[in-house]
């Protein structure tokens, strides 16, 4: 559970990102609108949304791959927009790292695995003497056999093994915040759980926090302490996982839960389910709760009740 007594490791305030496209007729897309949340050490927060909801954009802004249009991101109470120069950035990336969906595109296909780790040492940990020993240790921590993976090329390894390698890399750096963007979406059901359990164990033992970006509600429920639901760039509901899942209030969240396929529980065949009708439901919901804004519905559950 979220420990309120601790200081947040990462704090995001009114984060907004507007993309513009087109040369003559400029079009603006508000990918992320006024998103605020806090992450605490050792917790897993899932950020759930459908495609185009802006969840990846948030991850990329935290990783400083994109510059926010407005709003601030604080890591250990330091505004990350003020980081200047290579040394400060390197220090930031030692503590904040990302792992992405496609493990095959995360690795240079021409580099063997040991070289990937060597580069980490060269850039971040030049003073370490016992490189080989340390690498083997983190590989064993992610349940990989060092002998079997170290001298392989990425294409000789499975997707699950590659994702484990990326986690091992994060462990080597002693990362404080890991942005896991659809980390296991490309993996098979039988290999997924091993990676998820590993991630949860690492958080527990090292105090690492994970922003777990996913579209899969069941996985989000399984692993996270805290859940945020995004819809069209806005955070519509956030709170302790159990509260959001068992007492969803925003119409969008409710629609998501109605459509999630769950073994042992069938969709209502009589309900005429049309995804488009949720826009109308949301409009009505905002109208009837006018003026309430992003409201606290319980001590650990907030809902976007209206847009004003």
């Amino acid at each position: 559970m979220v420990d309120r007594k601790q200081e947040p490791i990462l704090r995001v305030e009114n984060l907004t990102k507007v993309f513009s496209s087109g040369v003559f007729f400029r079009q603006f897309t508000e990918a992320v609108r006024e998103v605020s949340f806090e992450m605490y050490p050792g917790t897993i927060m899932s950020l759930i949304g459908e495609s185009g909801s802006g969840k990846t954009t948030i991850g990329r802004m935290v990783l400083k791959l994109l510059r926010p249009t407005a709003g601030k991101i604080y890591f250990q109470e330091q505004d990350i927009a003020t980081l200047r120069g290579k040394a400060e950035l390197r220090e930031y990336y030692r503590r904040v790292q990302g792992v992405f969906q496609d493990p095959f595109s995360s690795f240079n296909p021409l580099f063997r695995v040991d070289r990937v780790f060597d580069m980490v040492y060269d850039v971040f940990l030049p003073d370490v003497k016992d490189r080989e020993e340390r690498t083997r240790e983190v590989l064993r921590k992610v349940n990989l056999n060092p002998e079997r993976v170290l001298h392989q090329f990425p294409h000789q390894l499975s997707g699950g093994q590659l994702q484990r390698l990326l986690i091992a890399r994060a462990l080597l750096l002693d990362v404080k915040v890991l942005i896991a963007d659809e980390l296991i979406s490309m993996l098979d059901a039988s290999t997924r759980m091993g990676i998820l359990n590993l991630l949860a164990d690492i958080c527990q033992s090292t105090g690492m926090s994970v922003l777990f970006i996913t579209h899969d509600l069941a996985l989000g429920y399984y692993i996270s302490d805290y859940t945020m639901i995004m819809h069209r760039g806005r955070l519509v509901e956030q709170g302790a996982t159990a509260e959001v899942y068992h007492n969803p209030i925003h119409p969008y969240t409710r629609m998501l839960f109605r459509s999630v396929p769950d073994i042992g529980h069938r969709w209502d065949p009589k309900e005429k389910f049309v995804p488009e009708q949720v826009s109308r439901e949301i409009a009505e919901f905002y109208a009837s709760n006018s003026g309430r804004g992003f409201a606290q519905v319980s001590s650990s559950h907030k809902v976007l009740m209206s847009l004003d």
Partner: protein, 329 residues
């Protein structure tokens, strides 16, 4: 029952013939599709489920039919010539392909695409045809105006619906839906999956084979399940039987590794299956799951025979009697 079987596949083998040898992706698969049912075909990546669809619909080198029959409405489609089968495709048997979202030509409007397709099959693209198309589009909750649009103007969920309308426009007796929900958001997933059931209920399509890696979706819509592993069928039976009383060690492990809303790691730790699926290149005989199976015995070196546990429930495992049923979910 025999009269109601519309597709009867017997010992079907189809390998990818490559320089290094044979990739045995479909290796002795036997099953039936009954009129009016939705048969769910589940398995992990590389288990041969999509290859099965391609073997039935369109074999392209290096995928080669080795042996076995697939009798569809009284005719062995494996023995049919390309042109003869082409006439049946779309009209009697139709596929909704994986990556359907990229199946539309970016330079053609949806309407042109519809017209080209039926003309290819020697049918007129006249006003009566388009009246039918509009009716179907309304049925899937799309404005018939999409006919004048280009694919880029549609969302993923809308494109998937357009593809479903195209594939079922001639009321085929059998539809093979290959991972049609995999690239969609959960809300569109529910719509697309339920749509297939509705098309069946309204008699627009006869039966369907719904191929996916997602057992949770199959639980929602399928009547029977067929579980594949490494090119073999390991277990077949009614959905409730398989989900609540799986007997094959693989099915048991797979089901117990699935997360459900309501299961949290701190209360119940789910375990994956140790190891990786077998490499199918030049694979020998034997149970394909044996390397990862906790119950394996000497006998598993032989390919297991398929046995009926009950009239509806069959399994390919030498040791299932000693394992017992595990209650899942």
């Amino acid at each position: 029952m025999a009269a109601d079987v519309i597709l009867d596949v017997q010992e079907l083998r189809a390998y990818y013939r490559i320089l290094k040898g044979d990739v045995k992706a479909v290796d002795g698969v036997t099953f039936q599709v009954v009129r009016g049912e939705i048969l769910g075909i589940a398995g992990e990546s590389g288990c041969g489920k999509s290859t099965l669809a391609h073997t039935l619909m369109l074999r392209k080198p290096p995928l080669t039919h080795i042996s076995g029959k697939a009798v569809f409405l009284g005719q062995d489609i494996m023995a049919m010539g390309k042109e003869a089968f082409r006439k049946r495709r779309l009209q009697d048997i139709s596929i909704i392909p994986q990556y359907a979202l990229d199946a539309l030509s970016p330079t053609k409007t949806i309407g042109t695409f519809f017209a080209d397709l039926v003309r290819e099959h020697g049918l007129p693209a006249d006003s009566a045809f388009f009246e039918r198309v509009r009716e179907r589009l309304r049925f899937v909750n799309l404005d018939p105006e999409v006919l004048d649009k280009y694919p880029i103007e549609l969302s993923g969920g809308m494109k998937q619906r357009v593809i479903m309308v195209i594939s079922t426009i001639l009321n085929p007796a059998l539809v093979i839906a290959d991972e049609i929900t995999s690239a969609l958001d959960v809300s569109s997933q529910r719509f697309a999956a339920s749509l297939l059931v509705e098309l069946r209920d309204k008699g627009i399509i006869g039966s369907a084979m719904f191929i996916t890696h997602d057992l949770a979706i199959l639980y929602q819509i399928a009547d029977r399940l067929l579980i594949m592993y490494g090119g073999h069928v390991v277990e077949t039976g009614p959905v409730e039987t398989i989900v609540h009383g799986p007997r094959h060690p693989y099915t048991q492990a797979l089901l117990s590794s699935l997360p459900k809303v309501g299961v949290q790691i701190k209360d119940q730790r789910l375990e994956g299956i140790k190891g990786t699926p077998p490499e199918l290149l030049n694979i020998g005989p034997g149970c394909r799951f044996r390397a990862r199976c906790p119950y394996r015995t000497q006998r598993c070196e032989e390919t297991p025979a398929t046995e009926n546990i009950s009239p509806e429930h069959s399994i390919a495992c030498w040791n299932y009697r000693d394992i017992g049923g595990e209650q899942v979910g």
